[in-house]
């Protein structure tokens, strides 16, 4: 079965949930996280070339507006399960900038491979003294998602999209981060060869940023719903003082707060998704992400807390979500910088 954007979103959701639920109990996710690549390569191959999840958003040959709704469905599902798959890196950091770019022939070729699910990609941002000179790059990046095994590393510099593919001059080093379920690497480039893949206008760069923020918002909403469900289940099952924990109003109100954050995070994600093909996309995506990433941290902490000592153990899953929630706040640059820029623009338009 191959999925495409013409499939009903509910069907996509149902088909993928089944596969993921079968393949990804959290025990499996933990094992994957500890493995060499940090994720289950067989499952990824099945999802990418079997289901086609890397290409659902690109109807063949269509030049019209992008339909990103399938991506958001996947984001919620993967976020809920803390799946360590290279979907965010390949699809959101790889295919979307290329889809939005004026591509070179090489760019179109790479895009085709990524959409088909044959190759993976990620993107790197400059950290220390990058030098780009005559088609070669030197410098280093400290936190590259799936940096160890992505086939392509994309960089956007001065409106141009470059790709690094040739392993010569690229040193990749896994970095352990607080988030156990998102493999990250440090990459050192020494005269690595750059291939020009296309150009991105400033407006398109804004849209790429909005894509990332909207994706993360949906992941947060999915994870938040899961920590809410875990807490509610526990409040029903666990008894103290002869009654279920959920009889105590202090905890009922915490659970209600989780429901409020779940409903609202899902709603802001929908609102950002509804703005995709409008000028309000980036402003909506920034607001949505700032809300949902904050709410996820709040909710993951509160859900963990309601599990008591159990929540503080390595074996129990609460901490995986807690780790993911904090790590998500930093994936799109510092939240405080996003917040500051948003406020500055609001001020400028007064």
């Amino acid at each position: 079965m191959k999925l495409s954007s013409r499939d009903d979103l509910r069907d996509i959701r149902a088909a993928l949930s089944d596969v993921l639920d079968a393949a990804m109990p959290t025990s499996a996710i933990r094992a994957d996280a500890a493995s060499a690549h940090g994720y289950d390569r067989t499952l990824w191959a099945e999802l990418a070339s079997g289901f086609g999840i890397t290409g659902m958003h690109a109807a063949e040959g269509a030049e019209g507006p992008l339909d990103l709704d399938p991506i958001w469905v996947v984001a919620e599902l993967l976020g809920a399960r803390l799946a360590a798959l290279p979907y965010l890196s390949t699809v959101v950091l790889g295919t979307l900038p290329l889809l939005r770019a004026e591509r070179t022939d090489a760019g179109s070729e790479v895009l085709g491979e990524l959409l088909e699910g044959r190759l993976t990609a990620t993107s790197a941002e400059p950290v220390q003294g990058w030098r780009r000179h005559e088609g070669r790059l030197s410098g280093s990046s400290s936190a590259v998602l799936h940096g160890t095994d992505s086939d392509w590393i994309l960089l956007v510099d001065d409106g141009r999209v470059y790709g690094v593919h040739d392993p010569a001059g690229v040193t990749r080093e896994p970095v352990a981060s607080i988030d156990l379920t998102r493999p990250t690497s440090a990459i050192d480039f020494q005269e690595a060869s750059l291939i020009e893949l296309g150009t991105l206008s400033l407006e398109q760069q804004d849209r790429c940023r909005a894509d990332l923020l909207t994706y993360l918002t949906h992941e947060c909403a999915g994870g938040l719903r899961r920590v809410k469900d875990m807490a509610v289940q526990h409040l029903r099952d666990r008894h103290q003082f002869g009654v279920p924990l959920g009889s105590f109003q202090a905890l009922k109100h915490r659970a209600a707060d989780l429901a409020v954050d779940t409903v609202t995070s899902t709603a802001v994600a929908r609102a950002a998704a509804a703005a995709v093909n409008t000028p309000a996309y980036l402003p909506a995506a920034e607001r949505a992400f700032l809300f949902a990433s904050d709410a996820y941290v709040r909710a993951a902490s509160s859900s963990l807390h309601m599990h008591g000592g159990l929540g503080f153990t390595w074996e129990f899953d609460s901490h995986l979500y807690y780790r993911r929630a904090y790590a998500s706040t930093a994936l799109a640059g510092r939240s405080s910088a996003t917040r500051c820029r948003l406020g500055q623009r609001l001020m400028a338009s007064a």
């Binding site: 109100h253 409020v260 609202t264 609102a271 949505a288 917040r339 948003l342 406020g343």
Partner: protein, 380 residues
Amino acid sequence: MVRMQDIDAASVDAWLAARAPLHTAQDAQHTGVALIEESGADEGAVVEAARAWQREWYDAGYAELGAADAAVVRSVAANYRLPDLRPLLIGLHILGPALREHGTAALQRRYLTPILRGEILACQLFSEPEAGSDLAGVRAKAVRVPGGWSVSGQKVWTSNAHFADVAELLVRTDSASSRHAGLSMFVMHMDAPGVDVRPLRQMTGGAAFNEVFLNDVFVPEENLIGEEGTGWRVAMTSLSGERAALGGEFEAVPPQLVEKLAAMALRRGRSEDPLVWGCLADAAVADFAHRAVVEHGAADPQLAGAAASVTKLMVTDLLEVVTSAVLEIGDAEVLLERGASIDAQWSEFILGKPGVAIAGGANEIQKNVIAERHLGLPKG
């Protein structure tokens, strides 16, 4: 995702453009920020303007729409400066839903259509001194008399009772009953003999709510909403309409709060201050989140039923975030008595805020509802 819609935004826009000014950047300086209506000297004019607006609105076909169409109309209307429509809220969103769901055809003809058309304004006689959050403790009672009922008792915190034409009245019709059983709901005329409305001064200094004393007030049989003894069910319909309205289906917060904050920062020479930027961003995020739940909350895959309570809680969150921004940007000026300066209007906002967290079911009650009814946690 495509929703079925009959109304197109362009025709709504054209209709509104012929009757109301667009919001402009300057509006942010001219429209007020009060959260709770004031019964000031101009109250009569405000009420009449709301009635007149609603009559045209109804005649144009906008007063009775499905959810999807209503959302289209709402988002277009948000661009226009409309009259203050709060005098209509109780009729449209509290009594209206009860009549629509439980009223006889005759009752709907007599009251619902005029309410939708702004000809009849309503108030809500639910709360009593001994029955607030615990509404099932209502004591006011109705006894049978020829042709109807005679009502006696005391109601309190009744918004708009001083100008409303009718009331949605919750009373005990079975004196032997207690709690939820034995309650019935009526439409009562506020000018009936025996209705005594006394204004209550609230903490803002104004008097938008009242005590209402009922002494042997006659209510005709046909004004019973639903059946005798089903008052609690009818009340639940009204309360969920109220929650949804206070949560934002109705403009629950003053328009353009973020723009108003930015305008204040500009006036005060703070536009280059990163502290101000941060506050504006926080307000914009809270405002966006509130609007998003109003628009998408009811589509939640698991918690659609909780959406009204969620939106109401999100309103109070928004008000807190805006208040922090107001204090940062406006400094002590916003704590001056309203009228002292343009920025002093925010004192009205700050003073109105506690009422929003109490009215329509206090926040704790909303959280109990979410936890017990929607998350399935134990009752009590």
